[in-house]
Amino acid sequence: MNALAWLAPVALPIAGALLWPVVGPARRWLLVLAPLPALLLGVFGAPGPPPQLNWLLLEAIADLDIGSRPLLVMTAFVWMVAGASARRIGDDRPAFASLMLLTCAGNVGVLLAADVVTFYVMFAWMTFAAYGLVVHHRTESARRAGRVYVVLAVLGEVALLAGLLLAATHAGTTAMPEVAGSLATAPGRSMIIGLLIGGFGVKVGLVPLHVWLPLAHPAAPVAASAVLSGTMIKAGLVGWLRILPLGEVALPGFGATLIGLGLVGAVLGVVAGTLQSDPKVLLAYSSVSQMGLITTAVGLGLVLPDDATAAVFAAVAYAVHHGIAKASLFLGVGVHKAGTRGWSHRTLLAGMGLAALALAGAPLTTGWIAKQTLKSVADALPEGGGQPLTLALSLAAAGTTVLMVRLLWLVREPSGPRSSPRSDAPADARGVIAPWASIVVAVAVGGWLLPLAVPDAPSLLPLTTSGLWDGLWPVLLGLVPCAGWLRYRPDRRLARASPRPAIPAGDLLLLIERLAPAVSIPAWWLLHRFDAMERRARTFQDVGRVTVRPGALIDHLEDRLTGWRTAGALYVLIGIAVTVALALGTA
């Protein structure tokens, strides 16, 4: 029974994916129920300790530590909601449904894995299965997004593999806790940690490596985007939390870089997001920004080893909050795209407004709790380093508010039941509203459930008045520029005329794409020349047919040799030579 509890979360989705074509109409419920065992495991925990699975992969070990349990609950819940809203898509594209299930298995597996190998297997499994989701629509933009996604995913995986190999060798075992522990004293530690940060950074959307995110998330269908931004992005965070030696050793250097990159990400996400015209790209940039904040939390953990547990909790809390809020926003966009009329549009706006407020960290919302815990950890920075950091966090919150207003602006008109074939959600919105509604409720209530889920969470809940004000002023600050913009916004037509956003999605990527040909074209040319050269060289191998000239020489020489006169001369010569050799040679 205990083994079943541990294995079912991963096994059920995989079984579902493999049996999808076989299972009859009931399969529509499979998408929804697949994550259920994971949810139950997360909420109620398993009856016994994790079973020994040394026949699986390379002595797989499963475990559920404190940090990843809430994440497991959030992931499972979001997967169920996404599954529910993706049921209709699943019907006409079985491949999409099985890929969704496979990715779910990977996502859940990452949270459960406790040894380096299984973790890496699940991580890679999730990444490459998600590729199928990204390119589901098969449009040219989806293919380009898929290409960028795969290239960065492969680079990330390769860096990760190298880092894990080096770490595991030093630790001598593959169990993650020991590996993280021994990392502190590993020779060449900085290279290993650099590789790990880079490897997971690709998935988390760390600034220079985030370029795939604004392309891939919008390209996928809404249900997939919700999961991509909601839960899968957190897998990278889990990797950091489990493998980096948080709490064992102070790594000021790496800590500072993480904090720095996190903040840059937060700002870039907000700036680029607001300039977007497609709500899904805007939300993707919002994910980059929010994950930037979480990265600062991890950075704090690295800088202050003794506050590491608080930093981890802050990061987890923030991740859970962001997961649910972002998923609800993506699903909301999905509902909007599916077409809403009259009262359903108004409820949609209300719900998305609630999620937006949560994301901005307005008081009494989950976002507020998460931000406050993050600020409290920041305050613990020595010699007053905390002040500028908390200020930056508040400014980021203001930025997010601006972003959310922009989102609501983009979604403000009811988009009637357009029957464009391309719309990824069915014409009638019935199937999508119910799951969306449930997740909005979760956003409202979730924040308060957090302490219950994690019994020994430090009592950081800032229910003081200063905390309330601390949450409110950034939101107000954010609303000021929006009001100004609403009042004096330029002519409506101009806004609509230039659909291309100032910063196209995948900002840095365009730079790279322009530079890349300068390198790839000569490389390709060189390889082709080398190939051709070898093919020409092969003619040398045809000894017989190389050129006529040497052949003729041999024939000519042979003819002379077998002529009587030359043969006669040679015969006499050899006779003399042999005789002389016999005469003077030593016996």
Binding site: L56, L57, V121, W125, V135, G146, V154, L155, V158
Partner: protein, 499 residues
């Protein structure tokens, strides 16, 4: 002739006798020929199973010895390493025979084909079970000779050119191997695999000669193991029909080379002596260069089978790399890759054969083929993913162990090479898969020119790739299982490693 001696000979006979019989089966009687060959293959797998059980569980000793030259015996001995290779060749002979029956349905020379096919497998089993260097040489050369008619089976000008290149390289390799064997024999007298102390004793006053002999042997075997400068024949031998490419370039010929290097480094010279002579580091470097070179050359090959050929060149050197790095994990990695690479590459060649049957020979022609040949492309995808080393496939297990071993041996640069080659593998394996499943614009998918007939080929051609693809996943997921090649390789590595 105790049972201990009978089994190895029986193993040889199960493919030799049917092969000779097949030569005399008239071309028209397909059923008889197919039945004979498939049954022979099944019997061989059963025998190998018995052999493996005997050695691993009952610790029996299987050895057959016959006087060959005065003072030198022909020895067939079932040590653990040979079993690994025999296990692989027996299994893949079965699947490839099934595949060949389907593939050559309309070929005019099947009796000849299956005859030489059987002889080739006999030689491979002989190479695997060889107990001393002379027996190894005998079967190694027999392998070269019996595979030539297979390479030129089509009889076209291109096939002959491929055959010529193949013989030019492999016979030169054979001549060098003869030179090395004779030299070692002249120095050390009759030499059995496993008696590393004999050569060890020589090292006292013959250091330079032993190094030269080692280099000669490795270069000789390098021709078939396709180390960089000596790999020229492999891409050209791709003209052979698909089942031949599958068995030869995934199992028999190339593996004989790599397996030979394993035997020479571990069972003839012994790791400590090789390390002492300082020959292992150059071998590692050559292997590393081959890995990267093979992958880069594969990048630009548009012809699918040539791309697979260059990938074989690169993948083989994983085995050599694993062997030449002095650490437990990397030896395990090298040995297990012997099996994994075989199974993955065979799957790829089966799929390439199926695609070939449908007129798709080039990567550029693979757009949207996934829709029309889903099963073949699924198997191709699994194997391709395996070659890149993405978990949970067998390829990942090898890469993991090679990386672990490299780090253990204190040579982290090898992990860099593995990383680079994984990226390169992804660069030349994933795009074809992507093109197959996601044609550029689904709307007006350009139907490939009329030649490509729709639909999957027959059952005979589908069963083998599916079976091997499933085993690629199985070997990856159940790597830790008791009887998996990995545990087996680890068991061997512990025995071999001096520490």
């Amino acid at each position: 002739m105790t049972i201990g001696a009978a089994l190895p000979v029986l193993l040889l006979a199960t493919s030799l006798v049917p092969a000779i019989a097949t030569f005399f089966i008239p071309e028209r009687s397909h059923r008889l020929r197919t039945a004979l060959n498939v049954i022979a293959a099944v019997v061989k797998v059963v025998l190998v199973g018995a052999l493996v059980a005997g050695v691993l569980y009952f610790g029996l000793e299987f050895e057959w010895r016959a006087a060959f030259l005065p003072g030198i015996d022909l020895v067939l001995r079932a040590d653990p390493i040979p079993l690994l290779f025999v296990f692989l060749s027996a299994l893949l002979w079965l699947t490839t025979t099934v595949y060949a029956v389907g593939y050559l349905a309309d070929d005019g020379h099947r009796s000849r084909f299956f005859g030489f096919f059987g002889l080739c497998v006999t030689a491979t089993v002989g190479v695997a079970l060889a107990g001393n260097l002379v027996t190894f040489l005998v079967f190694y050369e027999l392998l070269t000779v019996t595979t030539y008619p297979l390479v030129v089976h089509d009889g076209t000008a291109k096939a002959r050119a491929g055959g010529r290149a193949y013989l030019l390289y492999t016979l030169t390799g054979g001549a060098l191997l003869l030179l090395g064997t004779v030299w070692l024999h002249a120095l050390a007298g009759p030499l059995e695999f496993g008696q590393t102390e004999v050569v060890g004793a020589l090292a006292v006053n013959h250091r330079t000669t032993l190094t030269i002999v080692f280099v000669i042997l490795i270069v000789a075997l390098g021709f078939k193991a396709a180390l960089v400068p000596l790999h020229g024949w492999l891409p050209q031998a791709m003209v052979a029909p698909a089942p031949v490419s599958a068995l030869l370039h995934a199992v028999a010929v190339v593996k004989a080379g790599a397996y030979g290097i394993v035997r020479v480094v571990h069972d003839l010279f012994g790791l400590p002596l090789a390390q002492d002579l300082g020959v292992l580091m150059p071998l590692t470097i050559v292997a590393a260069i081959t890995i990267v070179y093979g992958s880069t050359r594969a990048l630009i090959q548009d012809d699918l089978k040539r791309r697979l050929a260059y990938s074989t060149v690169s993948q083989l050197s994983y085995i050599v790399l694993g062997i030449s790095v002095v650490s437990l994990s990397s030896t395990t990695g090298g040995l297990v890759h012997l099996v994994h690479q075989g199974i993955m590459k065979v799957t790829l060649f089966y799929c390439a054969g199926n695609l070939g049957k449908r007129g798709v020979h080039r990567v550029s022609e693979m757009d949207g083929i996934g829709r029309r040949m889903p099963v073949t492309m699924l198997a191709f995808t699994v194997a391709a993913v395996g070659m890149v080393g993405i978990p949970p496939t067998a390829g990942f297990v090898t890469k993991w162990y090679l990386g672990l071993g490299a780090a253990e041996a204190g040579q982290p640069w090898i992990i860099g090479v593995l990383a680079l080659s994984s990226a390169l593998n992804a660069a030349y394996f994933l795009p074809p898969v992507a093109r197959a499943w996601l044609p550029p614009d689904p709307g007006e998918r350009s139907e490939p020119t009329g030649r490509a007939l729709a639909g999957e080929p027959g059952g005979w051609l589908l069963l083998p790739p599916v079976a091997t693809a499933v085993s690629v996943l199985g070997l990856g997921i159940l790597a830790g299982a008791p009887l998996s090649p990995l545990t087996w390789a680890a068991f061997i590595a512990e025995e071999l490693m001096p520490s």
